[in-house]
């Protein structure tokens, strides 16, 4: 089992490669002026999309009808936001992943984390994935990692696949215990931040620390 821990001067981005906003989050971190002062780490977080409405006890028909309408409104909104995120990535269409593509691509993210890969290296890997085709599968991922000089002889029909799935599930559980609820999220000094837009606040925390007299 992989045990995850984050240092005091590290900022973690928890992402999901199936999600356009997660990739935008990494690009945002790449452009972040404070990045030079902090170690940015990236790990996968794979959970079904957060839907708290699903836990609401069933009620009267009118209440249920309202819940359904609200869910419909939320879905319509999410489509708009998805399109905007694709525009931010300079794309006109999205992508999808096969089942094995999902756990293999995220397992490679874990390998990059363990190898202390830089954000640039991680984004190079992701950029390779997004160039495969609209449907990202294990074979395409193998070609990308091969080009990057990473190991590409995966056995996805045997124990290795089971191990990858377990590692991914364990990691997501550990991140959840840290307060991560969805991807993308940031984790800094033990505090979880939903979304990537909290960088100005994190900057402010960093500035305060710089001003604090050393002990």
């Amino acid at each position: 089992m992989m045990t995850f821990s984050l240092g005091e001067s590290e900022l973690l981005a928890a992402i999901n490669l199936e999600d356009a906003e997660s990739i935008v989050a990494l690009q945002s971190l790449l452009q972040w002026p404070k990045r030079a002062l902090i170690s940015v780490r990236v790990l996968p977080f794979i959970r079904p999309p957060l839907n708290t409405a699903a836990d609401v006890p069933k009620g009267e028909p009118a209440f249920e009808a309202f819940k359904e309408r609200r869910s419909g409104a939320r879905r319509r909104y999410q489509r708009q936001e998805y399109t905007r995120n694709l525009e931010r990535l300079g794309r006109s269409s999205g992508w999808e992943m096969t089942d094995s593509g999902v756990f293999l691509s995220h397992d490679i993210l874990i390998q990059l984390y363990l190898g202390n890969a830089s954000l640039e290296q991680i984004l190079k890997y992701i950029s390779g994935l997004l160039k495969i085709s609209q449907r990202i599968d294990a074979e395409g991922i193998g070609r990308v990692v091969d080009e990057l000089g990473l190991r590409s002889d995966f056995d996805l029909k045997g124990d290795e696949a089971t191990l990858m799935r377990r590692r991914l599930a364990d990691l997501s559980q550990q991140l959840e215990a840290q307060g991560i609820l969805s991807a993308p999220s940031l984790l800094f000094k033990g505090e979880a931040y939903l979304g990537y837009g909290h960088l100005p606040q994190i900057e402010s925390i960093m500035d305060l620390e710089l001003k604090r007299p050393s002990e």
């Binding site: 409405a53 609200r70 409104a73 939320r74 909104y77 939903l194 909290h198 960088l199 100005p200």
Partner: protein
């Protein structure tokens, strides 16, 4: 035309409203404020607390509590950054009267400064647990304090205002508005204060690349 949907009982709307007003006061885009009265029980379950803060009734799941607590932690950080007090409500309020009051205030205020004052007072006092959003007389008091006429207000609350409010809720849901603050520019919706930069970019004609999301954090130079 820019419309902004808010609900006085939303902590996110509370920490966003002053920043949203800047779209009008700093950039000149007049805001059509629209109340979206959240049915919190329909997506986060319900809960009621005693005056001491102990939960006395709830149907929330563990996941819903986690989300609620995380949302309040986040909102408190941003409230503190704006030197605002945010005390969690002890129950889920029916904020529809306050929403109808917002519609009234927008229509009757002689000056936008009065509307802004009314909104800021209701938000600020509610989040200090000093304003009963369900009390029509209290809303009258705040309208008067903001220099907004109140003749006919009580009839409006129960009649035309209620009707317009309820129709608006239905229309907003059909449009795809489900949370606050939401920004509407023609058919496009932006949900959350982190979209403020993108909203402004859109209002100014979408020149250059689309901005990334950013939660506004005020730099306090005195720190």
């Amino acid at each position: 035309m820019l419309s902004v949907c808010i609900d006085f009982k939303s902590p996110y709307a509370f920490v966003a409203h002053a920043l949203i007003w800047e779209l009008e006061t700093q950039h000149g885009f007049v805001i059509d404020w629209q109340p979206l009265t959240l049915n919190i029980g329909s997506f986060l379950g319900t809960a009621e607390k005693s005056n001491q803060g102990a939960v006395v009734a709830t149907n929330r799941s563990e996941k819903q509590w986690t989300v609620v607590k995380s949302a309040y932690r986040d909102a408190r950080r941003y409230a503190a950054n704006q030197q605002r007090v945010l005390r969690g409500p002890l129950k889920i309020w029916d904020s529809s009267l306050a929403g109808i009051s917002l519609m009234w205030a927008q229509e009757k205020a002689d000056d936008r400064v009065d509307l802004k004052r009314f909104m800021d007072t209701v938000f600020t006092q509610f989040w200090q647990r000093a304003c009963d959003l369900e009390d029509a007389q209290e809303l009258v008091k705040h309208l008067k304090a903001a220099n907004i006429k109140t003749a006919g207000f009580l009839d409006y609350l129960e009649g035309e205002g209620r009707e317009r409010h309820d129709q608006l809720q239905s229309r907003l849901l059909d449009q795809g508005v489900f949370g606050v603050p939401s920004f509407l520019i023609r058919d496009e919706i932006f949900f959350g204060r982190e979209h403020l930069d993108t909203v402004l970019w859109r209002l100014k004609g979408s020149q250059g690349p689309m901005p990334l999301l950013r939660f506004p954090w005020l730099q306090v130079s005195a720190l």
